[in-house]
Amino acid sequence: MKNFTSKHSKKNNQATITRRNFLNTGMAAATFSLATGVTLMAYASNNDKVSGKTSRWGLLIDVNKCKSDCNDCVKACSNENGWELSEENSKTDAQWIRKIDLKEMASGREISLPLMCQHCESPPCVDVCPTGASFKRSDGIVLVDKHICIGCRYCMMACPFKARSFIHEKVPESQKKSGSPRGKGVVESCTMCVHLVDEGGTPACAIACTQTGNEAILFGDLYDPNSEISIRLATYQSSALRDDLQLNPSIRYQNF
C-alpha cells in the first residue's frame, strides 16, 4: 500500500493567475509580472482553512460487499448533485459515478464496483488544464472551477478513468442543486460532495451505500491515523486503479 502521507508536504499546486485576485486580495503569494494585466500567482498553502496538513478525504470501496444489481450510490449522487442520465442522450449526458460490471478474463471471477473521479494526488486533469480551472484542493479533492473553465475538454482527454463529463446542452433548473451548480459548455465530475464534506458531512454515495446495508463505501480522512478508513487501509490489502501511472488516488478498492 502506498503511504498517503509521503508526498503530502509537497507544495500546494494551486497555481493560477488572475488579475483580480492579485489586485484585490494581495494574499501571501508569489507574484510575477508577465505582461500588463497578466500575473502569475501561487497561493501560499498555509492560508487554507482546510489545510492539507490536517486532512485528505478519501473513499475505500470494498468490492466484495458491492452488489452487482445495486445502483443506489449512483441514484444518490444523481439526486444530490442534479445530473440525470436519460435514455435518448446516454452518450452526452453527464455521469459523475457509474457502476461497472467486471469479469476477470483469466479466472472468470465476476465483480461489480462504482467508479467516479479518483481524486488523484497527482491529477493529470489538473496538469493539462490551460486555465487552472481544474484544480486540487489542499484536502485532496479535485474540482473544476466552472467560473474559469473554457470548455476545451483537454482534461477529459487526460483523465485515465473517464471520470469527467462535458455538459452538452442547457441544464434545466430542475437539474441544478444549491450545492452543485451545473451549466452548459463546461466540464464537471464527482466533487466528493464537497459542499457536504465542508460542513462536516459525508458524500451521498457513501451514505446511500450504508443505508442499503452493503456498507461497501467507507468515507474518511486518510491523514488521520485513527480514522476507520486509515485503520482498514493499514490492516487489509487494497489497491488503486491504474496503479502503473503512480497517481496515488484518494479512492481505494479493497478485495480487488
Binding site: 494551486q14 485576485n21 486580495t25 492560508n47 482553512k49 444549491s178 451548480p181 459542499h195
Partner: protein, 154 residues
C-alpha cells in the same frame, strides 16, 4: 434656426409625452428594486449596491478553492432572501425579468452569468435559517471592506 426650434419642440413634446406615460404606469427613471424577505443589510443598501460584485467574487473563490464556507456572502443566501414571487406565488427564475438581479442588471445592460449554472430559486432550508438570523460578517465601511478583501485568510 427654424429647423432647430422645430427639433427642440419635437424633442420636448416627446419627452413630456414619455414622462406622462411613465407617470401613468408608475415607472420611474431608476429601476424598482423588489423588497427582500429577511432583515436588511446592516451595511446599508447603498453599500451593497456598490460592493456586491467584489464580495461575491472574493467569497466564491474562498469557498470553492479554499473550502471556507463560513462566508457572509454566499450566492445561495442572496438568492434566498431576495426571491421574487411570480403570479403563481412561486419564486421566479432568472428567465423572468422580475428576478431580483435582473431588475437592475437589465436596466444598466450588464449581463451576469451566475445563473447559467447556479440555482436561481431559493433553497427553503437556507431561507428558514436566514429568517432566524442574519449572517455575521459586517463590513460597514469601505475601509473595512478593503481590509477584508485584502486580508490574509490566516
Amino acid at each position: 434656426m427654424k429647423s432647430l426650434t422645430a427639433i427642440l419642440v419635437i424633442l420636448l413634446s416627446l419627452f413630456s409625452f414619455s414622462a406622462l406615460s411613465q407617470e401613468e404606469s408608475k415607472i420611474s427613471f431608476s429601476p424598482k428594486v423588489p423588497k427582500a424577505v429577511g432583515a436588511p443589510h446592516p451595511e446599508g443598501n447603498e453599500f451593497m449596491r456598490i460592493n456586491h460584485p467584489k464580495l461575491l467574487l472574493h467569497d466564491r473563490d474562498k469557498a470553492l478553492r479554499l473550502g471556507d464556507r463560513e462566508i457572509g456572502n454566499s450566492l445561495k443566501e442572496c438568492v434566498a432572501c431576495h426571491a421574487v414571487e411570480g403570479e403563481d406565488k412561486q419564486p421566479v427564475t432568472y428567465e423572468d425579468p422580475q428576478y431580483f438581479c435582473r431588475v437592475c442588471h437589465d436596466f444598466v445592460a450588464v449581463e451576469i452569468d451566475c445563473f447559467t449554472c447556479h440555482q436561481a430559486k431559493p433553497d427553503d432550508s437556507i431561507l428558514q435559517r436566514l429568517l432566524l438570523e442574519r449572517p455575521a460578517p459586517l463590513k460597514q465601511s469601505q475601509a473595512e471592506l478593503d481590509n477584508y478583501l485584502q486580508a490574509n485568510e490566516q
